[in-house]
C-alpha cells in the first residue's frame, strides 16, 4: 500500500468502518437466513438462555458503568449516561 493510500485510509477511517460495518451486517443477516434451521438444531433453549443472559448482563453492567463514568458537568455525556 502506497503512502497516498495510507493517508486515504487514515483520513476516511470512520467512513470505511461504517461501510465495513454495513456490509458485514448484511452478510451476517444472509448467513442467519441461510442457517436459521441449523441454528435451531444446534442451540437449545438452555444454551440460548445462557448466552442471552451473558449478553444482557454485559449490557446491564456497561449501562451502569456508563452512568458512573458520566461524572461531568457537560450535559451531553451526562444525558447519555442517564438514558443509557
Amino acid at each position: 500500500m502506497g503512502w497516498y493510500e495510507g493517508i486515504f485510509v487514515k483520513r476516511n477511517k470512520y467512513y470505511i468502518l461504517l461501510i465495513v460495518n454495513v456490509l458485514c451486517s448484511c452478510l451476517l443477516f444472509k448467513f442467519a437466513y441461510l442457517f436459521q434451521h441449523k441454528f435451531n438444531q444446534l442451540v437449545g433453549i438452555a444454551s440460548f438462555l445462557t448466552w442471552h443472559s451473558i449478553f444482557e448482563i454485559f449490557s446491564v453492567v456497561v449501562s451502569f458503568a456508563v452512568f458512573l463514568y458520566a461524572i461531568t458537568p457537560i450535559i451531553r455525556p451526562k444525558a447519555s449516561g442517564l438514558c443509557f
Binding site: F67, P77, A79, S80
Partner: protein
C-alpha cells in the same frame, strides 16, 4: 442507567427463565421491556444530538439517579401487574405483533435521525468519538432489524439481535469512557510532553531572543550615535573672533544625545547673538527639538531695499514661541532658553529669557558677582490660552567683565553622596582663575569631573563664557 435497569428486568423476565415476580411462561413481558429499552435508547440519543457538545450545567447527581430508577420501577410494575396498559408485543403461537414491529421501525427511524444529526456534527468537528457513535447507531439499527424478523424468541435472529446489542453497548461504553476518562488523561499527557519539550528548549529560546534583542539594541545604539553626530554638528565649532570679546563653551550630554543647545554667532560688524537653552526630556525627541530651534531662531529680518534689521531678543523669542505653536509637537513638550545680543561698540548686553530656570552669572572685573535678572514664559503649546510678553533687559558691561551662561545640568550635577555641584563651587573657581582668559571654563570642567568622580550625569551640562576684553 434507565436502559440498564429495564434490560435487567428484560433478562429476568425472559421466557424460560426462573420466575421473576410472576411466572415467565410467555415472551410478552420481556418483549415489552425490550421495546421500552429500545425507545429510551432511540429517544435519548436523538435528543442528545441536539444538545451542544460543550454545553455545561451542574445538576445534582442524585437528580440523575432518581429519574432512571423511577422509570425502571414504573415500567416493571406496569409490565408485570398491569400488562393490559401496554399493547401486546408478542403473542404465543403467532409471533410478533404489528405494533411491536412498527415500534421497532420507529426506533430505527429515531436512530437514523440521530445518525444524520451526528454526521453533521462530525463534518464540522471531525471528532473521532462522534464517528464512533455513528457506527454504534448502525449496529443498533441492525439489532433492531433482527428483532423485527424473529418468529421464536430462541431463533437465530433473536440471538443475532442480542449479539449486535452487546457490541453496540460496548462501543457506546468505549465512547463514554474515552470522552470522560481517557481523553483528559491523553490531553494531560500531551500537555506534559509539550511542556517538557518547551523546558528543554527554553535555554535555546532565551539565547535566541537575547541575540535578537542585542541586534535590535545595537541598531538603536547606532542610530543614537548617528543622531548624536547630527546634534553635535549643529553646535558651534568656532566662535566669533574679535579683540573686543572672547568666548569659551563646553557641552556634556547626559545620555548619548541630550536636550541642551546653545549657539554664538556674529550678526553684523557690531552685534553678536547668542542663546542657550534646554528642552524637556532627553534622547532622540529632545535632540530633534533642538534641530527645530536651530532652524527657527532668526536674529535679523530683511527690510525694503535689502536693508537688514536686527531683531530684539524679546521679539526673537516671541517668533520662536509662535513657530513652536504652529508645529505638531505634543502638548507636554516645552523649551526654556535665553537669547541675547551684545553690542561690541557700546558694550550693551541685551537679553531676554523664555523661562530659563538658571540665571547667568555676571562676574564683574572688580570682583563682584551678579545674577542676571531673568523672567519670561517657557516656549510651549499654550498660545490658545496665553500670549507671553517677553521683555528685554539691558546691562552695560565693562572690560574684564565675564558672563557665565549655563543650564541647570551644571548646578544639579551630583557626586557619589548625592551632593549637588552648587553655585559656591563656581564662585570659588572664578575667584581663583577668573582673571585668566580660558581658565575658568577649563577649571570648571576639571572641578565638575573631580566632584562627580565618574558618576553619570543626570542632565546635560552646557555652559559658555563671554569675556569682555
Amino acid at each position: 442507567m434507565a436502559v440498564g435497569i429495564i434490560d435487567l428486568f428484560h433478562v429476568l423476565s425472559y421466557k424460560g427463565m426462573p420466575d421473576f415476580l410472576i411466572s415467565n411462561q410467555g415472551a410478552n413481558r420481556a418483549t415489552t421491556f425490550w421495546i421500552i429499552s429500545g425507545l429510551l435508547i432511540g429517544l435519548g440519543f436523538f435528543i442528545s444530538g441536539f444538545i451542544r457538545q460543550d454545553k455545561k450545567k451542574l445538576i445534582p447527581r442524585s437528580f440523575f439517579s432518581i429519574i432512571p430508577i423511577a422509570i425502571g420501577i414504573i415500567s416493571l410494575i406496569i409490565a408485570t401487574y398491569y400488562p393490559m396498559m401496554f399493547p401486546p408485543m408478542y403473542i404465543e403461537g403467532e409471533g410478533l405483533t404489528d405494533i411491536k414491529v412498527n415500534l421497532e421501525y420507529f426506533i430505527i427511524i429515531l436512530l437514523f435521525a440521530s445518525i444524520i444529526k451526528y454526521y453533521h456534527e462530525y463534518r464540522k468537528t471531525k471528532d473521532n468519538l462522534v464517528a464512533l457513535l455513528i457506527n454504534a447507531f448502525i449496529l443498533r439499527i441492525f439489532s433492531e432489524l433482527a428483532f423485527t424478523l424473529y418468529d421464536s424468541v430462541y431463533d437465530i435472529y433473536n440471538y443475532l439481535g442480542h449479539v449486535y446489542k452487546a457490541v453496540f453497548t460496548f462501543v457506546i461504553f468505549r465512547v463514554i469512557f474515552i470522552y470522560n476518562v481517557q481523553k483528559p488523561y491523553v490531553e494531560l499527557s500531551n500537555a506534559q510532553v509539550e511542556l517538557k519539550r518547551y523546558i528543554e528548549n527554553l535555554d535555546w529560546l532565551v539565547e535566541q531572543r537575547t541575540r535578537e534583542l542585542n541586534l535590535i539594541n545595537q541598531k538603536l545604539m547606532d542610530d543614537l550615535e548617528y543622531a548624536r553626530d547630527i546634534q553635535l554638528a549643529l553646535l558651534p565649532t568656532s566662535f566669533p573672533i574679535m579683540p573686543e570679546v572672547s568666548f569659551d563653551a563646553r557641552y556634556f550630554p547626559a545620555e548619548r544625545i541630550g536636550g541642551d543647545f546653545y549657539n554664538i554667532f556674529r550678526i553684523d560688524e557690531e552685534h553678536i547673538g547668542m542663546y542657550i537653552g534646554d528642552v524637556s526630556g532627553h534622547g532622540v525627541p529632545a535632540a530633534m527639538l533642538t534641530v527645530f530651534l536651530n532652524q527657527n531662531i532668526h536674529p535679523t529680518r530683511e527690510l525694503v531695499k535689502g536693508k537688514i534689521e536686527i531683531i530684539s531678543p524679546s521679539e526673537v523669542l516671541t517668533n520662536v514661541y509662535d513657530s513652536f505653536n504652529k508645529t505638531n509637537f505634543k502638548d507636554d513638550v516645552y523649551v526654556v532658553m535665553l537669547y541675547a545680543v551684545y553690542n561690541i561698540r557700546t558694550k550693551i548686553f541685551t537679553y531676554s529669557s523664555a523661562g530659563l530656570n538658571v540665571a547667568p552669572l555676571l562676574f564683574r572685573n572688580f570682583g563682584g558677582i551678579d545674577e542676571l535678572k531673568i523672567s519670561g514664559f517657557p516656549i510651549c503649546k499654550f498660545i490658545e490660552y496665553y500670549t507671553p510678553g517677553y521683555e528685554n533687559q539691558s546691562i552695560k558691561l565693562n572690560s574684564g567683565d565675564e558672563i557665565l551662561f549655563y543650564t541647570d545640568g551644571l548646578t544639579e550635577a551630583k557626586n557619589q553622596h548625592g551632593e549637588r555641584f552648587s553655585l559656591d563651587n563656581i564662585q570659588l573657581i572664578y575667584s581663583k582663575y577668573g582673571h585668566t582668559i580660558g581658565m575658568p571654563s577649563k577649571m570648571l570642567i576639571e572641578e565638575i569631573l573631580r566632584f562627580t568622580d565618574g558618576c553619570k550625569f543626570d542632565d546635560d551640562i552646557t555652559f559658555f563664557l563671554m569675556h569682555v576684553n
